[in-house]
Amino acid sequence: MNITVDTGSCIGSGQCAASAPEVFDQDDDGRVVLIESRPAETFHDLVHEVAQCCPVQAISLDEY
């Protein structure tokens, strides 16, 4: 899995950082910061859910 985030469309809701703090954080303006673009397998389900829930679909996943 490879995660990319679109900080331009992020509204800083913090849903991602609240649900998966191992993978996502937020900068001082609230914008999403990717801590881990290739998270370990154990996080994959969670990251799927988080990506689905991002209110502006700023999180994209590439599976391989």
Partner: protein, 398 residues
Amino acid sequence: MTGDTVPRYPTLRPGPFDPPAELAELRRWEPISRMEYPDGHVGWVVTSHHLARSMLSDPRFSARSEFKRPPVSRPGADPFYGAPALPGWLVDMDPPEHTRLRQQLAGRFTARRMREMRPEVDQIVGRLLSDMERHGPPVDLVQHFALPLPSQLISALLGVPYRERAEFQRHSETLFSLQATAAEAAAAMAELYALVRELTKQDRGQHRGLLATLTEEGTLDAEEIAGVGVLLLTAGHESTSKSLALSVFALLSHPDQLAKLTATPTLIDNAVEELLRYLTVFHFGVPRTPLEDVWFGGRLLRAGESITVSLPAANRDPGWFGAAADRLDIERRTTGHMAFGYGIHQCLGQNLVRTELRAALPALFRRFPELRVAVDPGEVPLSTDMSVYGVQRLPVAW
């Protein structure tokens, strides 16, 4: 539901925790449906999770107060509909105005910052519970716990003295009440702007709050800061206190779920999400209006028409939450619930709400393991005539 019959927007709830039953029927047969609003004009209601999400993330549907009409209006014309958003009032704006304001605020409400507030939240919770204990049963949980907790926190965060609470709580109640006339609502709003403007000037101490910081930074003008202050102050205490009190009522009414939570405290995070989903205190949902003619969900929506996205209905959609969507189940998968809305307007304070509920609920039931509703549950007064749903009072004993 075909032919000429246009359903009227249902407002009657079958019980304290369930949205109007007609919404489930609509969701099943016609998830975007014509609807007759209570004032007689005809628009649309969206009831499925799928369509609610797509509409709320589609920029063709506007949140501007010039166009969007509240589903249930007050006696007399709505004072805010048809006019441009008040300064700072970002819920009534579209990008780029919305984006500019939101960006000024998002950084102050990050998940991490809200988690860092946890010790302060725990402290206030502990103090309020001790007061309750000293007072002795019965007490009204709303006045003694559910309302003061979020009011104190949002006051501290903004830098508004908590002693002003009687005033801001009163005005905000008028603002959210659907019984208040247009003139009363407009007056309450003006009073709130004046109050916050005044308090921002006074907020210069050592522990300056958000309003003072925004003033110093100077990127927003004074009226915008007042508006942001009013919005955060009212939304920050009203809807959180409603969620908290109603959550307690729901848990006390579902003893099996409460027992599960007490036995397994680690369920709290999931339980909070489930309570938010199940209870969805946004009584009617959020209004939107298409800026142009739009084909959506197989229907042609005309520019300027009224649409209500029913968050309570979307949050009970079995298509997303499974066959038992109408059951409170603190162990279910709750991802994707829409209690905080969806899209660019999704609740700014959502992680503050989470922090408060996660701290408050376990502490309350730990301190009062015998907590019970002190009246016949059927007599708990519900606020069906507010735009935010909940209990008006919750007498409890232990």
